[in-house]
């Protein structure tokens, strides 16, 4: 189902009702979504639900629902909140709230601290939040009123709140999860909404990429560290000694430090590692700095390659041992040790140290996992083979590693999305056994989506973004022709997706020569998504303006880009979506190849199956942008010959497949235009609530009627 059809509210009402009925077996609902606007939407639905409860039962259930987001979105400090970059906000917040900063403030008033944090620290912990639903703005307002920091309030409150809504990075990314979500109870229900890309999130959160710049900056970091250590040795040797003692006693105690200090994070370490003491070789500060220096030097030599190197973590560890005599065990503690050292040295601004932290992260991961990861060193980018730009990828191949703790820890996990298809792929790649797995279609009172596969131009030349034909003039011209014709007959907004930025640029360049751009601009304004985020959001803004004012606009964007993932084109903003070509991922990438190989060996997934699956879910994601609710309508054009093949068609979500009749596959441009014209006129006929009643909208009596219940049973396609 595309969004706007009530997925979120169905899930929420079901789980909340269950929580009210069985308060002991389900104590907490953790609702994870992807972006901030989507999270906000969940809270809106939740508020509606609570209002409904209040109306029906006279009082709202005693539940606390709240949102947690990054400091950037929650900060109310007058200066810090002005910052745009999330990392800088984090850094500045830390420099105002770290325990030693506050301690120093006690005897030196000139050192600034955050009054909101102080306010929260003094009173906030004793007071429980009133039952209710708190969105980002509510929390900020609440914080302003009481002079409490909303971020820390939220972080503190999620431990006893009944409903928590946040981004799924807080649960999946081990670096953050350990800080935020560690103490959530087992009897929680976890929902991953918009989870069609969940495997990529898992993988990204466990992968590390290191280039020359990071190495250089971390070398500088080490120098600074060394200098600070030396200074401290002269001034305050006692502190270092204390730390040494602590480390002897084991990391457990070290991690008892106050919550604000835990900015540095801990990748998924097995518990026993935490209980062990830090190995002797890196216990003293100087030794550890030296150790880091050696490791960074080693990485530097590894980057000095002329050809691509691919190796396993095991052989990497062996090589490290041989070259610079670093053993596996101290590497494992590297990350935690650095965190402890930075704490001891009272380094306030942690943003500067992010390269070094990244390196220790790599060290810990590489020594913890031997399976499911690979190391690839590429001396140059594939697109620019002459420019030397070595990169070391430490890449996670197995998306189940990051999500495994979630499956292990919580009693119920729900994964859902509008474009989760084909369903059976997800249990395979995430390595779990689904209890219930079902896919639902949409009941619509009128055919409000029109998917079409356009496979040839008016001149009968097959159109396809296949590598061999994509530069062909006839194909590019036919794509242009299709867009121009669609732009003349479709009102307001039209969105086009290309397979890559590179392809977008080359196609637009040749359209310019062929005069396609001119004839396009006669009907609509043209906007193009670029890799630059600011430029894109400006283009998007003007695109919306053009649609609002009736001028009409065409937006050219890229599948897997910012637009395809986060932006909705409801109603007039997206009357038609065109998908030019199948958005295959760049198949020559070595990381992808390694992952495909791993998937084949470990999970018996054929390479082609996975590639098609990945391409089709992105295609579905792109075209799904157009339909946002049952009163909306939109055309979806898949412009590639290959879409009509059964293996591609069957991988589309069910709600699209249902409307993609045989007569709509394999069309030429002209046929598609004729069909759309007629369809647009039909869709523009007045459509009221009464027309939906009994078909896609049921009254309470209709819902209870036996016939309807039987129908429901049939449509819910149950697979176990």
């Amino acid at each position: 189902m595309p969004s706007g059809t009530g997925k979120t509210v169905s899930l929420l009402s079901l789980i909340v009702a269950y929580m009210i009925a069985n308060p002991l077996s389900v104590t907490k609902l953790i609702y994870c979504s992807r972006t901030v606007p989507e999270i906000e939407k969940v809270l809106e639905e939740l508020k509606k639900l609570m209002t409904y409860y209040e109306k029906e039962r006279g009082q709202a259930p005693k539940m606390v629902g709240l949102v947690l987001s990054s400091r950037k979105n929650m900060c109310i400090h007058p200066q810090v909140s002005k910052e745009r970059d999330g990392k800088i906000v984090d850094g500045r917040c830390h420099s105002l709230t770290a325990s030693y900063v506050r301690e120093r403030h006690n005897y030196d008033d000139s050192i600034p601290i955050c009054s909101f944090y102080e306010g929260f620290d003094i009173e906030g912990r004793e007071v429980q939040l009133e039952p209710g639903v708190y969105s980002l703005d509510d929390l900020k307002e609440y914080g302003q009123e009481r002079n409490w920091c909303p971020y820390f309030l939220a972080r503190y409150t999620i431990l006893h709140a009944n409903i928590v809504v946040y981004s799924y990075h807080y649960l999946l990314d081990p670096k953050i999860a350990d800080v935020v979500s560690k103490e959530l109870s087992r009897s929680s229900v976890v929902v991953f909404d918009e989870a069609h890309n969940i495997d990529n999130v898992c993988i990204d959160s466990m992968s590390v990429k290191i280039n020359r710049r990071i190495i250089d900056r971390s070398t500088a970091n080490i120098q600074l560290l060394e200098q600070t250590v030396n200074e401290m040795k002269e001034d305050d040797a006692k502190k270092l000694k204390e730390e040494y003692q602590r480390l002897v006693e084991g990391l457990r105690d070290a991690s008892v430090a106050r919550e604000t200090d835990v900015v540095l994070s801990n990748p998924v370490l097995p518990d026993e590692v935490l209980k062990e003491a830090v190995p002797g070789s890196i216990r003293t500060a100087e030794h550890f700095v030296g150790f880091l220096k050696r490791f960074v030097e080693y990485l530097k030599t590894r980057l000095r390659v002329q050809h691509v190197v691919l190796e396993s973590p095991a052989s990497f560890l062996k090589d490290v041992y041989q070259k610079v005599c670093i053993e596996r065990k101290p590497l494992r503690f590297c990350h935690e040790r650095l965190a402890s050292l930075l704490r001891t040295l009272e380094i306030a601004d942690l943003t500067d140290f992010s390269p070094l932290i990244l390196i220790t992260h790599l060290a810990t991961l590489v020594s913890t996992y031997t399976k499911g990861f690979t190391i690839i060193v590429e001396p140059f980018d594939d697109k620019t083979p002459t420019v030397s730009n070595p990169i070391l990828h430490f890449s996670c191949l197995d998306s189940s590693i990051a999500i495994k703790p979630v499956f292990d820890r919580f009693q119920t996990v729900v994964i859902t999305s509008g474009t989760l298809s084909p369903l059976d792929m997800y249990p395979k790649i995430l390595d779990f056994h689904p209890v219930i797995m079902s896919s639902f279609t949409m009941t619509l009172a009128r055919p409000c989506l029109l998917p079409m596969i356009v496979s040839k131009g008016n001149d009968q030349v097959a159109i396809s973004s296949r590598f061999e034909t994509r530069e062909d003039v006839a194909v590019v011209r036919n794509y242009g022709q299709l867009l121009v014709e669609i732009a003349t007959i479709v009102p307001d907004g039209v969105v086009c997706f290309f397979t890559s930025y590179l392809y977008l640029e080359s196609v637009v360049a040749s359209w310019y020569d062929q005069g396609v751009v001119d004839s396009l601009q006669r009907n609509k304004l043209l906007f193009i998504e670029t890799q630059d985020a600011a430029e894109t959001s400006l283009a998007l803004l003007n695109y919306i303006r053009a649609c609002e004012s009736g001028r009409g606009a065409v937006l050219l964007s890229v599948a897997r880009g910012k637009v395809s993932e986060g932006v909705d084109f409801d109603h007039h903003l997206g009357r038609a979506v065109l998908m030019f070509g199948i958005p295959y991922v760049y198949t020559q990438s070595r990381i992808l190849r390694a992952r495909l190989e791993y998937l084949r060996d470990q999970f018996q997934i054929r390479e082609n199956d996975f590639l098609t699956f990945d391409a089709m879910r992105h295609a579905a994601q792109c075209v799904g942008r157009a339909i946002r609710g049952k009163t909306d309508y939109g055309i979806m054009i898949f412009a590639d010959k290959r879409f009509s093949r059964a293996d591609k068609r069957n991988k589309l979500p069910k709600w699209i497949q249902e409307h993609l009749k045989d007569s709509l596959c394999n069309l030429s441009t002209e046929e598609a235009v004729q069909i759309s014209k007629r369809w647009l006129r039909q869709m523009a006929q007045p459509f009221s609530r009464e027309d939906q009643l009994g078909v896609s909208l049921l009254t309470l009596e209709q819902l209870h009627s036996e016939e309807m219940q039987r129908k429901q049973q049939n449509t819910a396609d149950q697979k176990l």
């Binding site: 007959i489 009736g550 007039h572 007045p686």
Partner: protein, 407 residues
């Protein structure tokens, strides 16, 4: 026109269709069927909404905005959108003044990003029809500008007295509008002035048009084909319910008699309507005419606004015709044809035999005669009297008694 009314076109003129696929549409999907049903229901609903005793804006001041841009030369209406529109408009203008004799109309065209008034606000259908007919000579070009057209219309409508209902009807073929400024300001202006804007789009639903209609309380429609276009257009013939803030006021009207000076040699005079026309066609001298009871200017046709003293001149039948909008025929009851199958075979009005595709039949509440959908429409839209009641002596008596005292 006759051709279009029959809803028949030549095979080669029809749209691109795959007839072999049309066959299965009824089994599943019901694509055409379901949409056709929605339209039919909409028609009935429109009728049902109309009932007596609502205050109607009878003195209408309507501006027709005709899109004359590039896309009006599109051939999806035959022969072209422009020609088809002009044909329908001729009928519309005639009908409009027939049903709303005391109203006025003006015509604006928009093309090449400009708007141009081709006919001033006036009550003479012939002048408008002529202006519209002349459009066939004008080539379609450029993009239309909705804002310019609206502003131009608003400039004339702003001057009108407060009891007049102000309307703009836009026939929009284009899917884009090229405006000099922010159109939403114009929309707000129109709303503030109480101008009711309606749009008939010839291609698809454009957001700004829809918004314009929603904001100003007008109707928005998208045509399916030329027959539906006609329906959409002609629904604007019925006067809309008066906006609540319209003042009610008494209007002075003149009822001139047609005078023929008999007996002696009639003195030949020019009528005021043609006195300044140069084409000589109507400018002949004649003896008879309507004379304004106030200033004795002569007119050859009614209704008209006196050029000399500004009095509205109408004849009694004109007012009577406007009158029936206030007392429409009561709605017929909708009955399932299946239940009635054995009792009734023919439509009382057109004598059509009911068949398989008549899902519903309609019964007059007074005379209990049964009618088919088409006749039901016809009776309510045009005839304004039920043939069953009219032929039956007792009901026709009671009906006429019924409607004489104002309800």
């Amino acid at each position: 026109m006759a051709e279009e009314e029959e809803g028949k076109e030549y095979r080669w003129e029809t749209g691109y269709e795959k007839t072999w696929e049309a066959i299965q549409e009824d089994d599943e999907g019901l694509l055409e069927g379901s949409v056709a049903e929605i339209i039919q229901r909409a028609k009935r609903k429109r009728q049902a909404e109309r009932h007596g005793n609502t205050r109607l804006g009878m003195m209408r001041h309507l501006f027709l905005v005709i899109d004359n841009s590039d896309c009006m030369s599109n051939q999806d209406l035959k022969p072209t959108r422009q020609l088809c529109t002009i044909k329908l408009l001729e009928g519309f203008i005639d009908e409009f003044f027939d049903q709303n004799p005391i109203s006025q109309m003006g015509i604006i065209i928009t093309k090449s990003k400009r708007a141009e008034k081709i006919s001033e606000l006036a009550g003479n259908p012939r002048k408008h029809i002529k202006a519209v007919q002349q459009l066939t000579q004008v080539a379609c070009s450029g993009e239309p500008s909705l804002q310019n057209a609206l502003e131009l219309a608003l400039r004339s409508l702003r001057m009108l007295p407060s009891h007049a209902s102000r309307e703009i009807l836009i026939l929009m073929g284009s899917l884009t509008t090229c405006d000099p400024g922010d159109i939403s300001v114009t929309v707000q202006n129109l709303k503030a002035q109480g101008v009711r804007c309606s749009v008939i789009a010839l291609a698809a639903e454009v957001h700004i048009c829809h918004k314009l209609c929603r904001e100003t309380g007008g109707l928005f429609g998208v045509i399916l084909d030329d027959c539906h276009f006609r329906d959409q257009l002609f629904q604007h013939i019925d006067p809309p319910p008066a906006a609540t803030f319209l003042d009610s006021s008494l209007i002075k009207m003149g009822f001139p008699h047609h005078l023929m000076q008999e007996g002696k040699e009639a003195s030949l005079t020019m009528c005021m309507c043609h006195v300044d026309s140069t084409d000589g066609e109507g400018g002949r001298l004649n003896s008879g005419g309507y004379f304004c009871p106030q200033c004795c200017s002569k007119y050859c046709e009614l209704p008209v606004e006196c050029k000399a003293c500004g009095l509205t001149l109408v004849s009694a039948p004109h007012l009577a015709r406007s009158y029936h909008h206030l007392f429409p025929v009561d709605n017929f009851k909708e009955l399932e044809f299946r239940d009635m199958q054995d009792k009734i075979e023919l439509c009382f009005a057109c004598q059509k035999r009911f068949g398989e595709h008549d899902k519903h039949v309609y019964e007059c509440g007074t005379c209990s005669r049964i009618f088919c959908l088409e006749c039901d429409m016809f009776i309510h839209d045009l005839l304004h009297t039920c043939p069953g009641c009219a032929t039956n002596h007792s009901t026709s008596q009671s009906m006429s008694n019924d409607s004489v005292p104002p309800r």
